[in-house]
Symmetry: C2
C-alpha cells in the first residue's frame, strides 16, 4: 500500500548504514509512467537543505521519475559540498534506472550541519534500485522514519484511480509548510499544473494546520507524483478531495506520534470574519507554551486561550469572545462562563472551540501539549 | 531603596488576604510631588485586563499621584464588573489620600478570569495608605511578587537626581511590551511628554528584548513617575541612559528568575542591515522551543539557530551566516565551522552570536532554556 497503492509505482526501503544499527534508512520511489507529471511544495524556511534546493529545481520541470529519500542526516547547512552530495545521489539513482538525474528528486531528514556518509549512501541507492517492487511501499515508509515511532501511510480509492502516500515527522511540525517529508502518488492522469493546484490546496488545509512546536524545518518537502497508469483523468475537485483526505490522514498520524505529546489538541476557531483570521487565531493558541502546559496539566485554563488570541490582528472584540473546552463554554463574552469544573480533561483528545463572534468563517488547527518528555527528547541528544 | 530611592516618594506593601497565607499582596506607591508628571507603556495584547484599560485612561492625562498594585489576581477577562472593581480600587486610594481617582493608576497580576476579593482588597488599600513610608520600597516590591522567587529592585544615581524601580515577572515574558509590572520613579523634574519619550526608548531596548516563553500577558504595565523633588531637570539623553540602566538591571533580574530556567541565553545578532532585523532574528531564535531544549541539554546545536533565523525576513544570505556559541564559531558561511566539541556549555550564561553578514547593526535578545521544570510549573497548577 502506501506509495505503491496506485498503479505505475515501485518502491524499496533498505538499510544503507547511514543510521547506526541495521535500521532502514534509504527509500526509493519510482514512477514507471506512462506519465511523469509531478508537483511539490517545500519549506518556507529561507535556510533550505541541499536536497530542497535540488528538488525545487527538478520540480520546476514538472516531471519526476523517482524520489530518493534518506533518514540519518538532513544534509542541511552543509555548503556547496552538501549540494554536490545531493547531486551525486540523483546521478547514482539515474544511473541505476537508466534515466536522467534532472528528473530525480531527493529528500533528506536527520541532524542538521553534518555531511552525509556518501560512501554508504551511493551503494545503498544501487541496492534499493535492485529491490524495487510493487509491494515496496511499506519498506519505503519505514526507511524514512527518524524519531517517528511508527510508519505513516495512507491511501484512498477514487473513481477508477488511487491516491497513496507516506510521510515522516514527529517534531518540528509547524506551518508555512509541512515540516516533514511526504510522497504522494496517484495513477490518475493529470498535468503538472493540475497537480500543483491540487497539492497546494490540499497541504494548505492539512499539513499547514498542524503546529506541534512552532518550529519550521529546513527540509520539509511534499511531492505528488502521477503515473497516469489508470488511464483515468478524474474531475479535479473530486481528485483534490481525495488528495486532501490522504494528507489529512497522514497529518493526523503525524500529530498522534508527535514527540513527547500526551494530548492531541484541536483548536476550532468559529465565527471568524475570514478563514485566514480563523487560522491566525488558531495558530496563536497552538503556539502558546503556557496553554500547552496547562492542557498537559489537565487545567481548562481559558485565560491562556484569550491571551493568545489577543496577540493576533484577527477581527474580534475582546468582550464578545466565547471559549469552550471539551464542549463546556468556560468563557462567555470575554469573561467567566460556565463552571470550569464541569470540563472533563482526562481524554487524550482535547477540543478548544473559540468563537470570535465576527463572521461565519472557521478553521481548525491541530497541536499537542507541551510535556517534560518533549523537553527530554529534544535536550537529551542532538536531533 | 527601590521606588522610594528618589525624593518625593512613599510606598507600602501589606498582606490584604488576597493571596492565601500571610504573604504581602498589595502595594501602594505615592508621588508627593511637587510634580506628578508620568508616562506609561502597556501590553500590546488586545485582550487587556481591567487595570490596564483603567491606567491607560489615567496616563492619558500625563499625571499620576499614586499606583495601587496587587498580586493574587489579574482582574483580566472579568467583564464590566472587573472594570468596576478597578475603578473602586482607585476611588478607595483617592479617598485615603484625599485626592482624585483620575490620577490613581492600578496594576494587577495573578490568575486570569477571576474576580478580585474586593471585601479584602479595599480595606487593604486603607491599611497600605496608613503605612506609607519613605523606606517602604522594599515592602512594595515584595507585595507584587507572584511566582517570583525574589523581589526585583534597582536604582541609579544621576547628576543630583535619582531613578528607582521595582518589577515583578517570572514567566509570560515576551516582547511587544514588558509582560510584567514595573514602577519606575525619579525626583528629576520633567514633563509627561519627556517621560513618555524616555520610557518608550528605554523599554524598547530592555524589557522588549526579553523573551522567555513568547507569551504576552494581558496585564503588562511599566510606569514612570517623576516627583521633581530634586529640583533638577537633567539632560534628556543622560536621563534616558539612567532609566535604561534601571530597566536593563530589572530585566536581567526577571530573566535570572524566569520560571524553571537553568540557563540564561543572550542572543547577540551582529552584522545586521538594521537594528530591527537584528531584533527580528534574535527574537526568532529566542522563541525556538527546539533550540531552547538543546541549550538545556548543553548541546551547541547551531543547526537549530539557523533554522530559526531562516523563518524571518531579515536581510541575509544563508551561505554567509556565521554562528558562535560561547565564543566558538561552530558555523561559518552557513555550514560547519570550528569543532563543536570545543564549546563549553556548562556555565549558566550562554551567549549565541549570530553574524548576518548584511550590515553594521546589532541587538541582543535575552531568553532562557526550556526545561521540564518550566512544564511542571505551568502545568501543575493554574497560574
Amino acid at each position: 500500500m502506501s506509495v505503491t497503492a496506485p498503479l505505475g509505482f515501485r518502491a524499496a526501503g533498505i538499510a544503507a548504514g547511514i543510521k547506526a544499527g541495521d535500521a532502514r534508512d534509504l527509500a526509493l520511489v519510482v514512477n514507471d509512467g506512462p506519465s511523469r507529471a509531478a508537483a511539490g511544495v517545500f519549506t518556507a524556511n529561507r535556510v533550505k537543505a541541499a536536497p530542497v534546493l535540488w528538488s525545487q529545481q527538478v520540480l520546476r520541470g514538472g516531471r519526476v521519475r523517482a524520489v530518493v529519500l534518506n533518514s540519518g542526516g538532513a544534509n542541511a547547512c552543509t555548503g556547496a559540498e552538501g549540494f554536490q552530495d545531493t547531486h551525486a545521489t540523483a546521478e547514482e539513482a539515474a544511473g541505476a534506472l537508466g534515466d536522467s538525474a534532472g528528473e530525480i528528486a531527493v529528500c533528506s531528514t536527520g541532524l542538521i550541519g553534518e555531511r552525509l556518509p556518501m560512501d554508504l549512501l551511493l551503494p545503498g541507492v544501487r541496492v534499493a534500485a535492485s529491490q524495487l517492487a510493487r509491494d515496496g511501499g511499506l519498506a519505503a515508509a519505514d526507511a524514512i522514519r527518524t524519531t517517528d515511532t511508527v510508519s505513516k501511510i495512507s491511501f484512498k480509492r477514487g473513481d477508477a484511480y488511487m491516491v497513496g502516500g507516506m510521510a515522516k515527522g514527529a517534531g518540528m511540525l509547524a506551518p508555512a509548510m509541512a515540516t516533514m517529508l511526504c510522497v504522494l502518488t496517484t495513477d490518475a492522469d493529470l498535468t503538472a499544473e493540475q497537480l500543483d493546484t491540487v497539492l497546494r490546496a490540499a497541504t494548505s488545509r492539512t499539513f499547514d494546520r498542524l503546529d506541534t512546536d512552532g518550529c519550521m524545518s529546513t527540509n520539509d518537502t511534499v511531492l505528488l507524483l502521477a503515473s497516469g497508469a489508470s488511464g483515468v483523468t478524474p474531475d479535479l475537485a473530486e481528485f483534490e478531495q481525495k488528495v486532501t483526505e490522504v494528507c489529512a490522514d497522514l497529518a493526523r498520524q503525524l500529530l498522534v506520534d508527535a514527540e513527547g505529546a500526551s494530548k492531541a489538541i484541536a483548536i476550532e476557531v468559529v465565527g471568524a470574519a475570514s478563514e485566514d483570521d480563523a487560522v491566525k487565531a488558531g495558530r496563536a493558541v497552538a503556539r502558546s507554551n503556557l496553554l500547552k502546559c496547562a492542557i498537559h496539566g489537565e487545567d481548562p485554563n481559558w485565560g491562556r486561550v484569550l491571551s493568545a488570541v489577543g496577540t493576533t490582528d484577527a477581527e474580534f472584540e475582546p468582550e464578545r469572545l466565547n471559549v469552550a473546552i471539551n464542549g463546556i463554554w468556560v468563557c462567555r463574552g470575554g469573561a467567566v462562563g460556565d463552571d470550569r469544573s464541569k470540563v472533563d480533561m482526562r481524554p487524550r483528545d482535547v477540543t478548544i472551540t473559540i468563537d470570535l463572534s465576527a463572521g461565519a468563517a472557521s478553521a481548525t488547527v491541530h497541536t499537542t501539549d507541551l510535556t517534560a518528555d518533549y523537553v527530554h527528547e529534544n535536550s537529551a541528544y542532538s536531533s
